[in-house]
């Protein structure tokens, strides 16, 4: 099977190790991975801040980049939610404003074939044991978009539970937002910090070594607070744990 990797702008520029890990996990499972270089960003920051029109070139670009593929896989729940929930809205509003069918068609074309990594592994490949090894105590933070918009359910947990050596511990208040929310973290910095503080207090109470998530945007916020406080807990993307093996363990 051949799939296109949608690395996302955050992973490309700040967390390339997550995109590399995604490539490695997929290849280990026999998937042929492509990275169409014209891809950049799904446009979520612009859209969620109220700049819908500024999102349109990126919707077109994203659709064009992945036009030749049946499956698009990304290690970012929030970007999938952007495509699935908001691309059709952007297309419909553009149509209503009389800007042609092209954008609306482009937006719609991506919806059925874009998958979040854990969805793709569990639902399309039918795998929960990806042959990973990670001998650490891990607690899992389900990001809001993965949890509520995509309804990922227990897919990430099933993948983590199948990792050899890994001990999964419950995160109290797991379903509560960490306070990132894109530009919310800047526009409402005080409330965002208060939410983040509670999230890391809960995470630290688990005594885990690693806080795992499937969205590097949330992990940037949580991890940034953990580092500022010199906390004995590191934030790590799920893909990197799944990529870790006995032969090539992640440190």
């Amino acid at each position: 099977m051949r799939v296109a990797l949608f690395a996302t702008c955050v992973n490309d520029a700040l967390y390339p190790s997550t995109a590399v890990a995604t490539v490695k996990v997929l290849e280990r499972l026999g998937v042929e991975v492509d990275f169409p270089a014209e891809q950049t960003c799904c446009g979520q920051p612009q859209y969620n801040t109220g700049y819908r029109r500024a999102t349109e070139p990126l919707v077109r670009r994203t659709a064009r980049a992945f036009a030749g593929y049946d499956h698009v896989v990304t290690p970012s729940g929030s970007c999938v939610a952007m495509v699935r929930d908001n691309y059709p809205r952007i297309g419909a509003k553009a149509l209503a404003e009389g800007r042609g069918r092209e954008l609306s068609g482009a937006a719609a074309s991506l919806v059925p074939k874009t998958y979040e990594l854990t969805e793709f592994l569990v639902d399309v490949l039918g795998v929960t044991d990806v042959g990973a090894y990670f001998p650490h105590t891990v607690t899992y933070h389900p990001s809001c978009h993965g949890l509520r918009m995509l309804g990922l359910g227990d897919r990430p947990r099933r993948l983590l539970e199948a990792v050899r050596g890994l001990e999964l511990v419950e995160l109290p208040g797991a379903e509560e937002c960490c306070g990132f929310g894109g530009t919310f973290a800047v526009k409402n910095a005080d409330v965002s910090e208060a939410m983040g503080d509670d999230k890391i207090r809960n995470a630290l109470s688990t005594d885990a070594d690693v806080l795992c998530g499937a969205d590097n945007s949330c992990l940037m916020h949580i991890g940034g607070m953990l580092r500022r406080q010199d906390a004995p807990l590191r934030a790590l993307h799920l893909a990197e744990i799944l990529a870790s093996t006995e032969e090539e363990p992640l440190r």
């Binding site: 950049t40 500024a54 978009h145 509520r148 409402n188 910095a189 409330v191 939410m195 607070m225």
Partner: protein
């Protein structure tokens, strides 16, 4: 809406103090978590909750689409049942109508059932200006009124107060308004409730005019419905000689059968009860029973404008259950007062800027008072997609280009340009990676400074992913 909220600072400014108020955050956290957990349990008992929710959404959407027809039906039915219907385009008009109606009775005191509509119009203050004193009879509203405070929650207006604070308010303020608090009042719930009961009983027995809102209006019969927990509402609705109900035009539902759906959705969503203790219904006037005169004031106050917005109009489905407040992580930390309206929390963040417009600092900031986590949409019993409306309203605010948005628009456009030109983007990523040792830990400038006040930025990688791909896979 109410003049008491004019000149409010923007949400982030108003939230700043609340976030640092340890007592307030403790009160809110305890209360919201208790209600949200109970609600989840009450909802889980019904295996057809999803279908009820869909039914509630559809009935409301249908009614809103044909609102003109159903309102005329309400007017005809109420009139036929012996009531009088008045139409109010805005808050000032509604207050003027009510003031005139009270003056015509010759009374200078009224008792009130808890009502969001009259809080929205600032009725108490308007009556006060004409020498008419309005007594709130809902326990939490009483606490707010005695404390010269503002409500901070739809269902539990005094949620921001703890028992000790309530005892102090009763002790120092009750005598100003009527029967004083009993000697040696403690902060046990039973004693506090008894003090309120004695204080209020005196008012119920004396009042000749009652003022209410309504949770629902049934178009086919002109019946109004109030759903409550304490029974104080029923006292106000049945004892006075004149009853005046001020009701938002979106509260109408077509038939009694439709009421069945909402009487299941509302109590479980709001108080986590299978059924609320008191449901009072009244249809016009009846000889020998209840008020001798009944007036219905139908309030628009921005609702027709809201209805005109295809995305935003879903806010008018709201049945004021407050489930979205109780589950909202932003409300939990910022408190209800930061929203600058009688409608706080997620629903307030989409309702207030639509009812009032987005000209003021507070209204322009409300659509951004959310991390878009979606918990509010999940719990909403009439499936209002609050995150969708928030983003839609952000676009309106950004388009009007007020404070901060011009610079932001330029930045967003620049970002889009860069992201639409991968060669330039790659060059930028490479430059950032190459100079990564030189970047300061705390950054200057709006946004970056806010971010690095409490968080470290991630270390920049040695190379962006696209370069790794080129070297290793392409």
């Amino acid at each position: 809406m109410s003049g008491t909220y004019l000149g409010m600072p923007s949400f982030p400014e108003a939230a700043r103090d609340a976030v640092r108020d340890v007592t307030l955050r403790g009160n809110l956290r305890r209360a919201t978590h208790t209600i949200r957990d109970k609600r989840a349990g009450a909802v889980a008992e019904l295996d057809d909750w999803g279908r009820l929710r869909e039914a509630g959404k559809r009935i409301k959407d249908h009614t809103l689409r044909h609102l003109d027809r159903y309102l005329v039906q309400v007017e005809e039915a109420v009139t036929a049942a012996g009531g009088t219907v008045h139409w109010a385009a805005d808050a000032a008009e509604a207050n003027a109508i009510v003031t005139r109606l009270v003056q015509e009775t010759g009374e200078s005191e009224v008792v009130k059932v808890k009502s969001m509509a009259t809080q929205e119009t600032g009725l108490n203050e308007a009556l006060e200006a004409h020498g008419i004193r309005a007594y709130e009879t809902d326990l939490a509203e009483l606490i707010v009124q005695l404390g010269k405070d503002r409500p901070s929650h739809l269902l539990v207006p005094a949620i921001h107060r703890n028992r000790g604070e309530i005892r102090d308010i009763f002790r120092s303020e009750m005598s100003e308004w009527g029967r004083p608090a009993p000697e040696g009042l403690t902060d046990t719930p039973a004693e506090l409730a008894e003090a309120a009961r004695l204080h209020l009983r005196e008012k119920f027995l004396r009042a000749r005019v009652g003022i209410s809102g309504a949770n629902f209006m049934v178009a086919e019969t002109g019946t109004l419905v109030v759903v409550e927990s304490e029974g104080n509402g029923r006292m106000c609705l049945t004892l006075p000689e004149t009853l005046i109900s001020v009701v938002g035009i979106e509260k109408v539902i077509p038939t009694w059968r439709d009421l069945e759906v909402f009487l299941q959705l509302l109590p479980r969503s709001s108080t986590a009860e299978r059924m609320n203790p008191y449901t009072t219904m009244w249809t016009g006037t009846t000889d020998g029973d209840g008020p001798r005169a009944f007036h219905l004031v139908l309030l628009d106050n921005g609702r027709t404008d809201t209805l005109a917005d295809e995305v935003g109009r879903q806010a008018l489905r709201c049945i004021r259950c407050s489930a979205c407040l109780n589950v909202c992580p932003v409300y939990e930390r910022a408190g209800g007062h930061a929203y600058g309206s009688v409608y706080p929390g997620p629903i307030g963040a989409i309702l207030s800027p639509q009812l009032r417009g987005t000209a003021s600092a507070i209204d322009a900031s409300l659509p951004y008072a959310s991390s878009l986590c979606g918990a509010c949409y999940d719990v909403c019993p009439v499936a209002i997609d609050i995150p969708e409306v928030l983003v839609h309203l952000r676009e309106k605010v950004a388009d009007q280009g007020g404070k901060g948005h011009r610079l932001e628009r330029a930045a967003m456009r620049a970002a889009t340009w860069l992201l639409d030109h991968p060669a330039a983007l790659t060059a930028g990523e490479r430059l950032a990676s190459k100079t990564r040792k030189l970047h300061p830990e705390r950054l200057p400038g709006p946004g970056a400074r806010q971010w690095t006040n409490s968080r470290d930025l991630p270390d920049l990688p040695a190379e962006p992913f696209r370069d790794w791909w080129k070297k290793n896979r392409a």
